[in-house]
Every structure is written in C-alpha cells, then in structure tokens.
Amino acid sequence: MQLHQVTRVHGSKNTGVAALDNVSLTCPPGTWTAVMGPSGSGKSTLLHCAAGLDQVTSGRVLLAGHDITAAPDNVLTAMRRRTIGFVFQTFNLISSLTAEQNVAFPAKLAGLRVSKRDVRAVLAVVGLADRATHRPKELSGGQQQRVAIARAMITRPAVLFADEPTGALDSASAKTVLALLRDMVRTAGQTILMVTHDPAVAASADTVIFLADGRVVDRLTGPTTHDVAERLAGLES
C-alpha cells in the first residue's frame, strides 16, 4: 500500500482546508502501521483515501499493486470484496444478520462459496464459536468487534484498514483484538493500516507515523508505549 504526495482538500480547491498535505507513505506487505496524531490532524482522511473511500485532490494511491487514484466504482467494489477489509470503532455489523451471516456476507456479495465450516472456523479463531447465531444486539462490544474482524479475515484481504478498532472496547477485549490483528500480520502476511489515538494500541504496530495538520511529522519503528506517548505529547504541546 503506497501513498505518493497525496493531498486532500475539503471544500473548494483555492479556499478549502487541506486535511492531507503532500503525504507520502509506504506500507510493505506483512507490516502493521499505526497512524497517530491530534484530533483534526487528518488521520481518518488518510485512512479513507488509502482505502479508496475518499477521492484525493492530487497525488497517487496504490493498493496491492493497483493504482486506485481514479479507479471507477466497480474496480473499487471488487477491491473491497477481495483485497481490502475494514474494522472500525463503530462495529458496522449489519444488525439484522447473525454473527455468522455477517461474517459470510462480503464473500456472498463477491459470489464466493463459503462453507459454514469455514465461517465457524473463523469465528472460533476470534473466540466466538458459541455465538455464531447471535445477532449484534445480543453481543457485547468486544464480541461485536471480533465478529467484524472475523468478517475481515474470511476473505484474507491483502490490506486491512482499521479505524480505532479498540476505541469502544474494555482493556481485556482490546488485548484480544490486538492479538488477533498481530496474528493476521504474522501468519497470513496481511498488511494493516490502523488509526488510533491510544499510545498503548499504537505500540503493538511495527511502525507508527505521526500526523499534524495533514503532514507526516515523525515516524517510529518498533515503538514502545512510552516512546509513542512521549512523541505524541511533544506534538500536542
């Protein structure tokens, strides 16, 4: 996943505010990158642009070897089905479907056959084997997030986009979720781009980049919670 000199301006080109200002970023396969920064620094916009959910004003976006900068909707749809997955703070499950239906749903949309066994297996990985037929309403926040991760796992997407994946979870659930994400990177070689404001969460990534006012201002490799917190405090002061 690569961003080349990406700029995203909200509002009109001349008077608008640049949410992203000439950002370049490369996430090699099998790595986990965390994006941090104060509120309004452009973290979410970066994620949306990288995932092809938002159009960039200038620059190029490459995803799994494809240039998606100006990709038409059907190409982006196809990518959402096979190449990329999403995990968000609000879990974005379809409330009328059961956990296993939610997990199997993207694959079904893609016209792929998913056996019930595969679905159950993925749910078992996230520790929800016994909750397969529950609806989101009947699950706790941590369980819902694990269903969302199972949904992102089943198609084995090359790139997973995560926006505050632990934001609405208690610390125990957050740990489980982070362990699951780490597993995806290590065993399946998937790439994760994650936005968070929690230094402890960012510290589980391989690399942390810091944004301020739409620019990359710093970068940490092999971070610890303490390092991250320090840099962040520096940015916000």
Binding site: L53, T77, R80, I94, S96, L109, D163
Partner: protein
C-alpha cells in the same frame, strides 16, 4: 438479506406493504363495481320512468367509479412511491454499509428491487381481501346516495383482482426504481459517519419533476380561464393532482422556510434538519387536502354559479310553487305583471336520431306560455325564436343542447295517451345547471296533462309595487310556497350541492382514508427511526415528556405546513374554476368550503399529533442510556 431486514425494520415495511395493499384494494373494488354497472340489473315490475331512472343511476355510478378508479391509481402511485422512497432514504447508512463490505451498485439495486417486488407481491395479495371489504363499502355508499338500486351486488371477477395486483406490484417496483438509482450513488464512506447524514434532499430529479409539475399546474390554471365548464372540471381535477405532486416534491424548500416562523428552539431546529422526514409526512397531507378541498370547492363553486346564473337568467322577483290548476289564478292577483307558469308535465318525447335509434325522454319536459316565458327569462335562445313556439312545436332546453336535435326535426310525443308530432323550432343554450329538457306550448297539450303537474310560476311584479306586498297577497290567495328569486336560486344551488357532496363522499371517502393512512404511516416510520435521537435528547437532560412534547410540536408544525400547501393547490384549482365561471356567466363565483377546511385542519393535525405522540412514547420506553451506549 431481504428477509432478515424485514424482521428488523418492520415499521418501515409494514407501512410499505399496507400502502400497496390498500391501493390495490381500492383499485380492485372500483374496477369490480365499474364492471358490474356496465350491465344494469333492473328489478322487474317497474314503470318505464322508474326503469329509466335506474338506468341513469347506473350510468352515474359508472362515471363515479371510473373517476374513483383513476383517483385510486393516482394515489397508489403517489403514496407507494413516496413511502418506498422514504424507506430507502431512511436506510442510507445500512445501504452504505453494504457498499463498504463489498456490495456493488448493481447488487444494491437488485436488493432494493427484489425487496420491493416482495413487498409489492405481499401487498397485492393482502389487497384482495381488503378489496372485498372496500367493494362492500363502495356499493353501500352508491346505494345510500341512490345511484344504485337496493340489493345491487358486483359479482367477483378474477381479472379485476389480477389487474389490480399486477398494477400494485408494478407501482411498487417503479416507486422504488428511482430511489434505488439514487441509493446506488450512496458512497460507502457514509457508513462511517455517526448519523449517516442524509443526502441533499432537493436532488436533480426532484427539482426537475417538481418544477415541471408546478409549470403544468400553472398552465392548467391559465387554460381553465378560457375553457368551458366541463374543461374547467377536468382542469380542477388535474390541478389538484398535479399541484399536489409539485407541492410535495418542492416541499423540502418550503418546510425549512416556514420553520423561521416558529420561535427558536429544538422544534425549529429539528424542522430545518429533518427536511426529508417532514416532506414525507407532509406529502400525503398535501394530496389529501388539495384533492378534498379542491374537488369540494370546485363542485361547490359550480353549484353556486349555477344558482347565480339561474337568478340572473330570470327577469322576475318571485317564484311560486303549486299545481298547474292553482297557478292559473296567479295572473289575476293584484300587483302581478307577468306570471309565467311552467308545468313539469309527465309526457314522453321520442327523438329518432339517424345513427342512434330512438331516444325517449320522460323528464324535464315543461309546458309554458311562450310570451310570458319570454318576458320573464333573459336567456337568449341559441337557435330560433321563442315567438315561434306556437301550435305543435317544441324548443330544446339547456339539458338537450348537446344531443344534436336540430330545428326542423319532428319529435313524436305521447301526451297522456294523445299522440303529437312536435316540430323543433329552436333551442336554449347550455347552462351551468342541467336545466330543462324541452319547452312546449301549453296550448298544445290537453288540460288534464298539465292541470295536476308540479308547477313553478315565475312572477314579475308591476313596476313600483313592493314584491313583499305582492307575495303577501299571493299567500292570502292560499298559495303555500312563495320564494323570492334569490331564495329560489339559493335553494337550487343547495340542492345541486347536496348531490355533489354525496358524489364526493363516494369519490373521496375511501381514497381520503387511504391518503390519511399514508400520513399515519409516514409519521410512524419517521418516529420509529428517531429512537437514538430521542435517547440522546433525554441523556442531554430532557425528560421523556419533553421529548414526546417536542416531537408532537414538530409534527403539528409539519401537519400545518402540509395543510397550508394543500390549500395553496386547492386555491389554484378554485382560481381555475373561478375563471371558467366568469367566462360562462360573467361574474366570478367561488365557493370556499370553510367547514370542510376547518374539519380537515383539525382532523389532520389531530391524527398526525396523536400518531407521533404514540410513536414517540413507544420509542422512548426503553432507558435512554441503553440506546445511546449500544454501538449499533
């Protein structure tokens, strides 16, 4: 996916199914009754006149049912498409989520269309038994107002149910089609926004259709100014329907504007924010009000104009009702200058038309003294001269103006057993009221034919005499019913209007309930979708009572806006009819149905307020914290 969504959002889909079912039911019922009226069932043992009356009643019933079917079709298209469009708009976030998880545009469209196919089929199937009920109600109404004889029943016909059902499914599919095109443009990113902010409500197609419907309405109002009354009547219906469409499409522009009239606060802010929701509630109200008030105002104006015309066509002061024999004493009363006796005689006139065969007329045949008649009536003949009405001759009246009976033609008559050959010597022009069928000289008829006939005598008072004094003198001569010309004209207008009200009841009764149901529907759907918003308001510090109160206040404001917009459309319809009346009789006569207006305002506000109140009470029953903190 479709099935599980149904379970989740039952209010949304119950509303949609119901809107299809009732539309199909109305359509099916009207078609069944219409089909049955094509084949009049005449009870045996009736006189020719009675048979003729029944036959005429059937023709009238067929006309009313034809209009009802048309109206039902219009309402079904309007209500179903607005309900379905609303259901799609309310699920923006769900649909965006679908796109986010890899659904393509085509899949989204397919989902929505298959969903509406399912809803349409369920609705149409439910519509069949509903239709049987509706048919009973319509038949009962038609018998009540005397258009159909007692014991009339419309036989069941499978094709009517099938046609209505197919139309129902078709309407559901077309209703959701444009909404699905719009929904396919929802961007996946919208799933990530907290509230799933609705798209611009005034999109291009809304502008386009709204403005063209408005232009059509204005064109019809202008056109109605220069047309005849039948044209104006059609225009009035067209203006009501077209104007209602225009107003509801453009209502998102008006609703926020009117919000400025309210004191600032939550209600005003909600009105400006929830434009889509307000528009969905206001639309069916606009249709209901514009059709109900527009049609009733049109009929009322025509009736009033008919009375006005009758008053102006008579050059006299008093109208006396009696038998033909008694009326003969009137010319001798002191102060009476002219007494034009008009006997409604019970004779039969047969017209042989070249391509239609013989037509028999039994009613509206009036015997007059041509000279007296000419002195007391202004209406100039459209052909011939009243002076020629001597011997065995006949004049066609306003009611027969369009029947193609021409001067020179000879009509056969049967006057109490005596055959007569009447030569047509002229005719009177068409009037707003149906008027008489034939005028013939009393001298041509044997005395026993007219002596007992119900007679109206138009009395012209000697110049300088007080009409009230003359009326007193006539009363002392033993005459019971003496009215001034204005009283007589008003009574005629009232009688016409009574008939109109009955027809309007048949026409708008069930259709009005259908529109009202759509109003309730929209209010319930709108309220049910606000569960979270209500919870947030309560967490912010509002009591449950305050939340319900502000929802109700908002609903009342929307209802009033809907009623006002509907009134604007009805007003446009009345402007059209006013112009046509002006062209026909020289003065503008417009009857505003104030009583109905008051009922509609109070009724619709009450219905919307109650529904919203109940929905808000039900949706706030849960503890707010549970809703606010639940992720989904």
């Amino acid at each position: 996916m479709s099935f599980s969504t149904f379970r989740e959002r039952w209010e949304l889909f119950a509303g949609a199914v119901l809107s299809v079912a009732v539309g199909v039911a109305l359509l099916q019922a009207s078609m069944l009754v219409l089909a049955a009226t094509g084949n009049p069932q005449i009870p045996p043992g009736l006189s020719r006149q009675e048979q003729d009356e029944i036959r005429e009643g059937f023709v009238g019933a067929a006309t009313v049912m034809g209009m009802t079917a048309f109206l039902a079709m219009f309402l079904a298209v309007f209500i179903v498409s607005s309900t379905f469009g609303f259901t799609v708009a309310q699920r923006r976030r769900d649909l965006a989520l679908l796109r986010l998880t890899g659904g393509s545009r085509a899949q989204l469209r397919a989902l929505l269309l298959s969903e509406s196919l399912l809803l349409g089929v369920v609705g149409s199937v439910l519509g069949v038994p509903f239709g049987v009920v509706a048919q009973h109600v319509q038949t009962w109404l038609l018998i009540e107002i005397g258009l159909l004889p007692d014991g009339f029943t419309a036989p069941w016909r499978g094709w009517a149910a099938i046609t209505a059902g197919v139309l129902g499914v078709g309407v559901a599919l077309t209703g959701v089609f444009t909404a699905s095109l719009r929904a396919a443009r929802i961007r996946p990113l919208e799933a990530l926004r907290e509230t799933g902010k609705a798209a611009r409500v005034m999109n291009t197609s809304r502008w386009l259709f709204g403005l063209s419907a408005a232009a059509c309405t204005v064109a019809m109002v202008v056109w109605a100014q220069g047309t005849n009354l039948i044209g104006a009547l059609m225009a009035a219906l067209g203006i009501s329907m077209c104007g209602a469409v225009a107003m509801s499409l453009l209502s998102p522009l008006v609703v926020p504007l009117t919000a400025w009239l309210l004191p600032s606060g939550l209600v005003r802010a909600n009105l400006r924010e929830g434009v889509r929701r307000s528009a969905a509630t206001a639309s069916p109200l606009i249709v209901l009000v514009s059709l109900l008030l527009g049609l009733s105002g049109t009929f009322g104006s025509l009736a009033a104009a008919g009375g006005e015309e009758a008053k102006r066509s008579v050059n006299a002061q008093l109208v006396v009702t009696s038998t033909g024999e008694e009326a003969e004493r009137l010319p001798a009363v002191e102060g009476v200058a002219v007494a034009s006796r008009q006997n409604a005689v019970d004779i039969t006139i047969t017209a042989e038309q070249p391509d239609e065969g013989p037509t028999r007329y039994y009613s509206g045949i009036v015997a007059v003294d041509p000279a007296d008649y000419a002195r007391t009536h202004h209406l100039p003949p459209s052909a011939g001269n009243l002076a020629a009405l001597t011997g065995t001759t006949v004049f066609t009246g306003p009611a027969r103006h369009g029947d193609g009976i021409i001067p020179g033609q000879v009509l056969a008559a049967d006057a109490g057993g005596q055959p007569l050959q009447l030569t047509v010597v002229g005719g009177l022009p068409e009037t707003l009221e149906a008027g008489d069928s034939f005028l013939l000289p009393r001298a041509a008829l044997p005395r026993h034919v007219w002596s007992a006939a119900p007679t109206e005598t138009v009395v012209q008072v000697v110049p300088g005499q007080n009409p009230a004094d003359v009326a007193d003198r006539i009363r002392r001569q033993g005459f019971g019913e003496i009215r001034t010309v204005p009283e007589w004209a008003a009574a005629r207008a009232r009688q016409t209007q009574d008939g109109n009200v009955e027809i309007l009841t048949v026409l708008m009764g069930l259709a009005g309930l259908y529109a009202l149901m759509a109003v309730v529907n929209a209010a319930v759907i709108a309220g049910a979708e606000r569960r979270r918003e209500f919870a947030v308001a309560r967490v912010t510090g509002l009591t449950r009572r305050q939340v319900i109160g502000s929802a109700v206040a908002e609903a009342i404001a929307v209802a009033l806006i809907g009623v006002v917009l509907g009134c604007v459309v009805a007003g446009a319809g009345l402007a059209g009819i006013g112009g046509a009346v002006r062209k026909a009789i020289g003065v503008t006569v417009v009857d505003v149905p104030w009583a109905l207006l008051a009922i509609v305002v109070v009724g619709s506000v009450a219905v919307v307020a109650t529904t919203t109140g109940i929905t808000a009470a039900v949706t706030t029953r849960q503890r707010p914290v549970a809703l606010v903190t639940a992720g989904e």
